[in-house]
Symmetry: C2
Subunit: 379 residues, 2 copies
């Protein structure tokens, strides 16, 4: 709080210029905002909706350039170097704060925060050498997952251990990458996520919980609505406690495991707009992107209410046949203007329907088109 409220036609600096930045811009231009993005890649997707400064996210000269004329700074990626974010935070309001960024950059800090707040996570232990891994395995047992404490995404930087004998192979694979954490593997029935947004004045808006399906560690499908009233309330309570403990301003995504008895276990946090909330563009009264901007600008939040059952499907590697997708009632295609590449998220499809049965049927059709050979992989 205490930070100045930007003027109505503020300029927002965004660290990262990928599809999340692009969608922030698309939500913010109607609000009269201007955008400056910093991204290492010339031609990054957000360049269509603002000025793109090409440079490293930790490069002070580049940070100076993206901050020129900006009134507030945010980020679309929690991998932003913490010292780069702090460097800007000395001159401009940074939301979410450097603390939200630091906690979500470290799986151990995330889990310790949850523990302090009485929020369930997988049992875990920090692992800094081979001996510590063996010792942690003695406590946590198998199956377990060894992960880098920071920097992993889309399933990268992880090694699954099914028996204690996997320890040396796991250490050989990940040991060179820096600080690690061993986590017990949670026996979950579903993967969920809850997005929540907190304003500068502490107002909180919580979106309906989404059910997520991953493949090869990469999110493929998010669907809403998916949980009953009590699970929604439990997820919202977790999100609120985290938002308040972090004094977080903006969107926070909490990835959750749902276990056999219906209880929720936090997997990880993302202090930003998130892929599992792309459905909010068409499917909620106020999108996660608009609410993130409202929050960081000190404005009242919009309703996170669901407008219609819907699902989002990522386009991974290449875009699907555009005509076939748009021929499905209730479907919208989001093309991030990226070139095709294996495992790369190049777009997404959102499909809406009045009822669940119709949504099932339309989602099947979307999946069928997406899994078919794309018609313009090289476009």
């Amino acid at each position: 709080m205490g930070e100045p409220i930007p003027p109505p036609r503020a300029c927002v600096a965004v660290l990262g210029g990928g599809q999340l930045g692009r969608m922030l811009g698309l939500a913010g231009i109607p609000m009269g905002l201007r955008f400056r993005f910093l991204d290492p890649v010339a031609g990054a997707p957000a360049g269509a909706v603002g000025d793109l400064v090409v440079g490293g996210l930790g490069d002070r000269a580049a940070l100076d350039r993206v901050a020129e004329g900006a009134h507030v700074v945010t980020y679309e990626w929690e991998g932003v170097p913490a010292d780069g974010a702090r460097y800007l935070a000395d001159r401009l309001p940074l939301f979410p704060s450097a603390r939200s960024l630091a906690v979500s950059q470290d799986r151990v800090a995330e889990k310790r925060l949850c523990g302090d707040l009485g929020i369930a996570t997988a049992p875990f232990a920090a692992v800094d050498d081979r001996a510590a891994l063996h010792s942690a395995l003695g406590t946590i047992g198998t199956p377990a997952i060894l992960k880098t404490r920071s920097g992993g995404y889309d399933g990268k930087g992880q090694f699954r251990l099914d028996a204690p004998g996997d320890a040396d192979a796991a250490w050989d694979a990940l040991g060179p990458l820096g600080h690690l954490v061993l986590e017990a593997r949670v026996a979950f029935t579903r993967e969920l996520s809850v997005l929540a947004c907190r304003g500068r004045d502490g107002e909180v808006a919580v979106y309906p919980v989404a059910a997520n399906i991953h493949e090869g560690g990469i999110l493929r499908v998010s669907r809403v609505p998916t949980v009953g009233r009590s699970s929604q309330a439990a997820a919202a309570a977790i999100a609120r406690r985290l938002l308040e403990a972090l004094d977080h301003v903006g969107v926070l995504c909490v990835e959750l495991f749902e276990t056999g008895d219906g209880s929720l276990v936090v997997n990880e946090l993302a202090p930003r707009v998130h892929n599992s909330g792309h459905w909010t563009i068409e499917g909620a009264v106020t999108s996660q992107f608009e609410n993130h901007l409202r929050a960081i600008l000190g404005l009242p939040l919009g309703a996170p209410t669901l407008v219609m059952p819907n699902a989002m499907v990522n386009c991974i590697g290449a875009l699907p046949d555009r005509e076939a997708i748009l021929g499905i009632a209730g479907a919208h295609l989001h093309d991030y203007d990226k070139s095709p590449r294996a495992e790369r998220k190049v777009g997404h499809v959102t499909v809406l329907a009045d009822d669940e049965a119709t949504l099932d049927e339309r989602l099947d059709r979307v999946e069928h088109v997406i899994r078919a050979r794309p018609s313009h992989a090289a476009s």
Copy 2:
């Protein structure tokens, strides 16, 4: 229809770079499209979402520049000089066609087309001199309205005649402006509009009819839903007949009068996305802007279905207090990034609600804020 289908990441040239162009761009960027706008004003609102070529809409050098690299041409204003549009149509697909443009540029041609199709309009007569005005008044009677045949908007270029004795004053006011038309004044109970979109393959999507409130000739409020099933069907039938007769591709707005017995009389046509359809951004499954683009690109149309009762209120002259608007549940502010000026449309607010009573209450609050003194008229 024979015109080539543009590639997936097509470039769309738009004649006019105002708020309608801006909203076309915001709908098209997620589809992977790029935009080039031609507008006489540097800093026109659409510049935020594409390349802005500054020049006259009838200037051939400027038309050449906006067409560079474009795959298809459209327009956001029916005042585009017809020969400029035809000049581009010789080299690139132009949608809606030069014929749609020509008909909607001439109130007499519009009414003759309606007459040919058995669609009701006000009785009218073309008026090219003072004697013709007196003669037309003898047939049509008063109250009547003398209008310029082309070029009028927001109530400009009109003169109301309450008695035959007003003829000379009317002629003195409008005679110098060119070809005129005298129209009987329709005793309407409400002003409505229906937006419909037609694809290149003849597919038609018709939006729910909106009720419009004008003040001083300028649209202030549009609200949906507003008519029962039979009026919706009647409006849709009118729109379909016009779309087919014109072989129109893209959005067509048909402004209607509803009379005491519930019948519909066509007032005028706009061969483009229209202010009375801005509610579709949040309030329909597919916005008028996305559907216009789908149509001109030869893609399947999206569902025009209503998602929630809603109303759109124009911000005329200056923007309202942003924080107060965003503090109203279900409200979204659209800032066109224009400087304040009397009678200028500088933005709009859309407000949604689950039911009509809640919408009434929220709309009252929006109106209250908009009618209050703006907080940043000079921003």
